[in-house]
């Protein structure tokens, strides 16, 4: 049965094996920075195919998976980090698009509970073993063997126990290294883009935020496309570079002078750069062409109020008629009620 020597040997062997394994895993994660294809493959394997059962997009032939793979490659070319790319998909598909549950929050329990279960199981086994081994010495024992284990059974069991506890600790530690490594690797090897915002984050103004570089190349390719200039202007707007935004909006309007969104956004820039008269004129011409554009009415009313133009009340009331469910409506109502008394 288990003797002290072989227990110690077992412990040593387990320790060595696990150290090597952990080291190997660590090297696999933190060795040379992964290539684009390796990054792409790692990301494919972490994203769920939306129409399959528990399959990643890595191997799925479903058309949506093929499209998702090509989107991943485009985002890598854009210079996004692995974390940003996964966040981009979570923004559009929800957190269930990730194949491994996130490390934070309630879902962290999925990682922790099995580990806790292993620790408890080992601890229980160790306690049980010690109890079984503790010799029951009674007065008047007639020389029957205290238990079924040979000479010095307790220390043999102790070595094995220690080996198993060490094994589970190292397994947990190694697993932790893998998890940490998986979330860290590829995150450091971002491209030249210095974006700090979450990629694809839905900003309050409305649209996901493609890389500025991609938008710039879009307008270079098709300088006659008003929509491309508008998108570029929006991106600058989101980065609070109002001069660049205005420039892009004006270019859009050069191409298409009655473009509704471009006029509205340019008017908003004018408001924010203290040019209320120009903003008002632009909004009025917009509303001549498209009188039901609620947001233009809202902006006009706001500017009028800023300028102490008494027409602001009628304007804002018109906004409420046009779009009573607009998110700004309660605020506008409060504004109107506040003065009416």
């Amino acid at each position: 049965m288990i003797s002290r020597v072989s227990g110690a040997v077992l412990l040593a062997a387990v320790l060595v094996a696990l150290l090597l394994a952990a080291f190997g895993l660590w090297r696999a994660q933190g060795g040379d920075p992964p290539s684009q294809e390796q990054r792409a493959t790692a990301i494919y394997e972490s994203l769920r195919c939306p129409t399959c059962t528990a399959e990643s997009i890595a191997d799925s032939q479903a058309p949506i998976s093929v499209s998702m793979r090509s989107t991943v490659r485009e985002l890598i070319d854009d210079g996004r980090t692995d974390e940003q790319i996964r966040a981009w998909f979570v923004d559009r598909y929800g957190p269930t698009v990730l194949l491994s549950p996130p490390l934070r929050g309630f879902a962290a329990l999925v990682w922790l509970l099995p580990v806790a279960a292993v620790v408890v199981a080992v601890g229980w086994w160790a306690v049980r073993t010690r109890q079984r081994v503790a010799p029951v010495r009674r007065a008047g024992d007639h020389g029957a063997a205290p238990d079924e284990h040979p000479v010095n059974p307790a220390s043999g069991q102790r070595w094995t126990t220690a080996a198993l506890v060490a094994a589970s600790v190292l397994a947990v530690g190694g697993g932790g290294l893998v998890v940490v490594g998986a979330s860290g690797a590829g995150g450091a090897s971002a491209g030249a883009s210095g974006e700090e915002t979450r990629s694809g984050a839905r900003d309050p103004a409305g649209v996901p935020e493609p890389a500025l570089g991609a938008l710039q190349s879009a307008v270079d390719r098709t300088p006659g496309d008003a929509g491309a200039w508008l998108a570029l202007g929006r991106a600058w707007d989101d980065r609070s570079d109002l001069d660049a935004a205005e420039d892009a909006y004006r270019k859009a309007l050069d191409i298409q002078p009655d473009h509704p969104a471009a006029r509205l956004r340019l008017a908003f820039v004018m408001v924010r750069t203290e040019r209320p008269a120009q903003a008002t004129a632009l909004l009025r011409s917009l509303l001549e062409d498209a009188p039901r554009t609620a947001e233009a009415v809202l902006l006009l009313g706001t500017v009028q109020r800023q300028q102490d133009d008494p027409a602001w009340r009628a304007t804002l009331r018109r906004f409420l008629d046009l779009d009573p469910d607009h998110p700004a409506a309660p605020g506008v109502r409060a504004l109107l009620d506040g003065g009416a008394r």
Binding site: S67, G94, V120, R202, A261
Partner: protein, 181 residues
């Protein structure tokens, strides 16, 4: 005897702990499964609509932005999608019947000639479409499969979606209430 009882109590305690852990794990899994139920059908938390802009199937150009101010049905379809064949005529007719309702198709992962033939077969050639041969715009919208329909309100927010074929019942209960009479 006390030793035995102590041992038994400890054993029970550990068993209980094990049960608690298992129960916890099942709870977490249940949560995860609930979240991953894929088919969404009906109102969703309003979120800004992604851009939808591009060339159609006949050299025309469309931009969802231009339709701001009306309710828009964005329908993701392809010629190889059988349920799309059933629902497209219904969608086209419904949009025609209401001034305040527009239909824009997103033809994803499809070949333009097959798509054009498909439209002719279901009598929907005049329909406004954006061509998306590599399916990337569909991914931008978070489409999980085909057909999928998104409802964009006047402010440009996605307020409802449906995975799978749309039915008259779905249209009347989810879409038409948003549309001006």
């Amino acid at each position: 005897m006390t030793a035995v009882r102590a041992r038994r109590r400890r054993g029970v305690a550990v068993h209980l702990l094990g049960l608690v852990l298992v129960a916890g794990l099942l709870l977490v899994l249940d949560q995860a499964l609930e979240q991953s139920s894929s088919a969404v059908d009906g109102r969703v938390e309003a979120a800004p609509a992604p851009p939808l802009r591009g060339e159609g199937l006949f050299g025309d150009v469309h931009d969802l932005e231009d339709l701001r101010g009306t309710v828009v049905l964005v329908n993701v379809w392809a010629s190889w999608c059988a349920p799309c064949r059933e629902e497209l005529p219904l969608l086209v007719r419904t949009a025609e019947r209401h001034d305040d309702l527009e239909l824009v198709g997103l033809n994803s992962n499809d070949r333009p000639d097959a798509a054009r033939r498909f439209l002719a077969a279901v009598d929907a050639t005049p329909m406004a479409n954006v061509s998306d041969p590599d399916g990337r715009q569909a991914v931008e919208w978070g489409a999980r499969g085909l057909p999928e329909t998104f409802v964009v309100d006047r402010r440009g927010m996605v307020v409802a979606r449906r995975s799978g074929e749309v039915t008259p019942a779905w249209l009347s209960s989810v879409v038409l209430p948003l549309v001006a009479p």
